[in-house]
């Protein structure tokens, strides 16, 4: 017996995530890795490299493209795919809008964030994915704090918090009926700070959005939003030039920026360590109600 000091906490988190990724490979027929272009799913890709190289990934990367992306995120995505030589599948929200399967939101705070659930479910159905790996973490939000690492969704993509399977030791039960799928969260036990410390330790390149840059922004509901053609602006909106960065990378219409002078990863880690606002605090989509995330997850949201 020895004291639990053989592995540093980042080593332990890494080993657990690799273990989970390999369980997905071993238990499912057609898994996929949901790639958003954000730092969490980028971290997943680098963990998958450790889990499966020199072999190929036993799954493609899947990106749900809302059409309201930051250019930097798409450029990053395409360069990454070219570098690692893995397969990318893109599901377009625009196609679902054009086909009339979803209707765009109206009004000042309109966003395509809600619509991507439909495109995600359609993409899963089209390719018959039985497991979708995602970068969600339990420290992000209260409903996520209770979600399993292997989280079963019914054929409508719904999460039922009352009927979650017990998850014991490291025994992940991936058995499902046809039409169901499992969302798998290998970095469930990581915090935002853990992800950043890991990215620094592993020298993982990130989209430039995460670092401070000058940008035209407007103030909405107390947060900065990037001025873009995708944002419904009116005369009350005043465009200002600010030094900002993004703590998450989602849609341009729902991802808020924070004023920041963090140009290097060390600055960001210092900033987060000292910060008093959690990263989802800069997401307009969670502010709607006390139970916003739980309701969206029940509807099939990631």
């Amino acid at each position: 017996m020895s004291n639990k000091d053989q592995l540093d906490y980042l080593d332990e988190l890494e080993a657990e995530a690799i273990y989970i990724l390999r369980e997905v490979a071993g238990q499912f027929e057609k898994p996929a890795l949901l790639f958003s272009g954000g730092k969490d799913s980028i971290t997943l890709v680098y963990l998958a490299l450790k889990a499966f190289r020199p072999g190929k990934f036993p799954f493609p990367l899947v990106h749900i493209d809302t059409g309201h992306n930051f250019d930097e995120a798409i450029i990053y995505r395409d360069q990454l795919i070219e570098r690692i030589g893995e397969k990318l599948i893109v599901g377009y929200v625009q196609e679902d809008i054009d086909a009339g399967r979803v209707v765009e939101q109206r009004g000042k705070n309109a966003s395509r964030n809600q619509l991507q659930t439909v495109t995600l479910l359609n993409t899963i159905a089209k390719h018959q994915f039985d497991a979708c790996i995602g970068g969600a973490r339990r420290d992000e939000e209260k409903a996520r704090a209770k979600e399993r690492i292997f989280s079963v969704r019914d054929e409508f993509g719904q999460w039922d918090p009352k009927r979650q399977r017990p998850e014991l030791w490291n025994q992940y039960n991936g058995k499902i009926h046809k039409g169901e799928n499992v969302r798998v969260f290998p970095i469930s036990n990581w915090t935002e700070l853990d992800v950043w410390n890991y990215i620094r330790r592993e020298n993982i390149p990130l989209p430039s959005l995460y670092f401070s840059h000058e940008r035209d922004v407007i103030t909405r509901n107390g947060v900065y939003m990037a001025a873009s053609p995708f944002l419904n602006m009116d005369d009350e909106d005043i465009v200002e030039r600010k030094s900002v960065r993004f703590r998450t990378v989602g849609d341009m219409s729902c991802t808020a920026a924070v004023e920041s002078y963090a140009y290097h990863i060390d600055d960001i880690i210092d900033e987060i360590s000292a910060s008093r606002i959690s990263e989802r605090g800069a997401r307009m989509d969670d502010k709607v109600s006390e139970a916003a995330m739980e309701d969206r997850k029940k509807g099939g949201y990631f």
């Binding site: 020895s2 592995l7 906490y9 332990e12 273990y19 190289r53 979650q164 030791w169 490291n170 006390e290």
Partner: protein
């Protein structure tokens, strides 16, 4: 810095959620917008302070009913350690949730209300913690403010608990008198209990040692996945990917492949692009052997000089987790590390009344029942006894009709 995973056992009335809220609040792990959401929800204690318990009540139904139904995981970190808390419900109808939380913890905090002392649920929680083999237990005697911070009350409870600990077989128990509501002995030492000379809760959690079995002859490596690139330049590459469950493996170690029994020698260990000489418990690596042997997911590499048991008939403790009772005529799936096989519960030996610890005869095995059974499996299972090696001694039962996890098994003896 390492990670401590701990479980809090107690009911709403013991102030469990308040204790966790206090740890997060006093260690400044609550962020500004979460605090704002807390204030928006506007739940107050009688004395007007913010109700910290709401921080851990995640789901709507729980907020409505004011109880913790599921397992919620909470994260915080100090300069010394990273902590993962499994907040589990204490009521008897949620025994399975507590078993789930305990299975993933290194330490349990058992909360006792100073006014009530050792009660039925304390017995139940202590039994479960012992059943799941947690290496460390901390008894937090809470609500000391309600008993005038009395040393005598605390010491009487400690004496009572020592008897219980002996009865259920718990070792390594520590005791701390606290008031979660007022913050006494949580992060800071209480000035109102100068008679208590030990550590406060947080310093204790920061420094308590958690044993890990890294002994070289206890090596257990369940193969999860075989890496075979099958490209021109890596034509002969064949790596066995998995996570070391217990013990350690070194390059040149002799290993046995089970259940086949083939022997070989480790030629290389890979961790991404590194090639470490040794892989210890907890590490996810890729192992290469000198000989070409047919090995696939579900097989296990073990230290040649100390081998686990291989059997199709095992005596085990079972915790039943499904609303549909155990059916001894039905064929279930057993999932044990990377091995999946069909099985049947051949015999129910007895049930345990988890409030009194009495053994009872068992005609029916229902949700939250715990007892001793004999299981028969279709394929041989490579296992250790749970009391000797948790990482290779626990398994789950799955009902193929619903695909739900219906039971947790702790292997106790080879019944072959």
């Amino acid at each position: 810095m390492n990670i401590l995973k701990f479980l809090t056992a107690g009911s709403v009335d013991d102030g469990k959620s308040t204790l966790i809220g206090r740890l997060l609040y006093d260690s400044e792990a609550i962020l500004a917008d979460q605090l704002e959401a807390l204030q928006r929800a506007n739940r107050k204690n009688d004395d007007g302070t913010i109700d910290l318990a709401i921080l851990t009540d995640g789901l709507k139904a729980e907020r409505e009913q004011g109880i913790t139904i599921d397992v919620a995981y909470k994260y915080f970190q100090t300069e010394k350690r990273k902590f993962i808390i499994a907040d589990t419900p204490g009521h008897i109808q949620y025994t399975r949730n507590m078993v789930t939380g305990a299975s993933n913890s290194d330490l349990a905090i058992i909360l006792i209300d100073a006014r009530k002392g050792v009660i039925e649920q304390t017995i139940r929680h202590s039994f479960l913690v012992s059943l799941l083999g947690l290496p460390r237990v901390l008894v937090a005697v809470n609500k000391m403010d309600m008993v005038d911070f009395s040393q005598e009350v605390f010491e009487n409870i400690v004496e009572d608990y020592k008897k219980l600990a002996k009865k259920v077989g718990l070792e390594n128990v520590a005791y701390i008198p606290v008031s979660a509501l007022k913050g006494d002995n949580i992060v800071h030492k209480s000035v109102r209990m100068p008679w208590y000379l030990g550590e406060s809760l947080l310093p204790y959690l920061e420094s308590v040692e958690i044993p890990v079995d890294t002994q070289s002859d206890h090596g257990r490596f369940p193969v999860q996945w075989v890496v075979r690139p099958q490209t021109d330049e890596l034509h002969d590459y064949r790596g066995y990917a998995g996570r070391v469950a217990s013990g350690s493996f070194r390059v040149n170690d002799k290993v046995t492949v089970l259940p086949s029994g083939f022997q070989s020698t480790i030629s290389k260990i890979e961790l991404a692009e590194q090639e470490p000489d040794v892989a210890v418990a907890g590490m996810s690596v890729t192992v290469h052997l000198q000989d070409e042997i047919d090995i696939s997911r579900g097989d296990m590499l073990v230290s040649a000089q100390n081998q686990p048991m291989v059997s199709q008939q095992i005596e085990a403790d079972l915790c039943w987790m499904d609303t549909k009772p155990l059916d001894t005529t039905h064929t279930y799936f057993l999932q044990h590390n990377s091995k999946l096989t069909r099985c049947r519960i051949q015999e129910v030996l007895h049930k345990v009344n988890i409030n009194t610890l009495e053994k009872e005869s068992a005609d029916e095995f229902k949700l939250n029942d715990i007892g001793r059974i004999v299981i028969k499996t279709a394929d041989p299972v490579v296992f250790d006894l749970f009391q000797n090696n948790k990482a290779n001694g626990g398994a789950i039962l799955i009902d193929g009709r619903t695909n739900v996890t219906v039971g947790a098994l702790m292997f106790r003896a080879n019944a072959d």
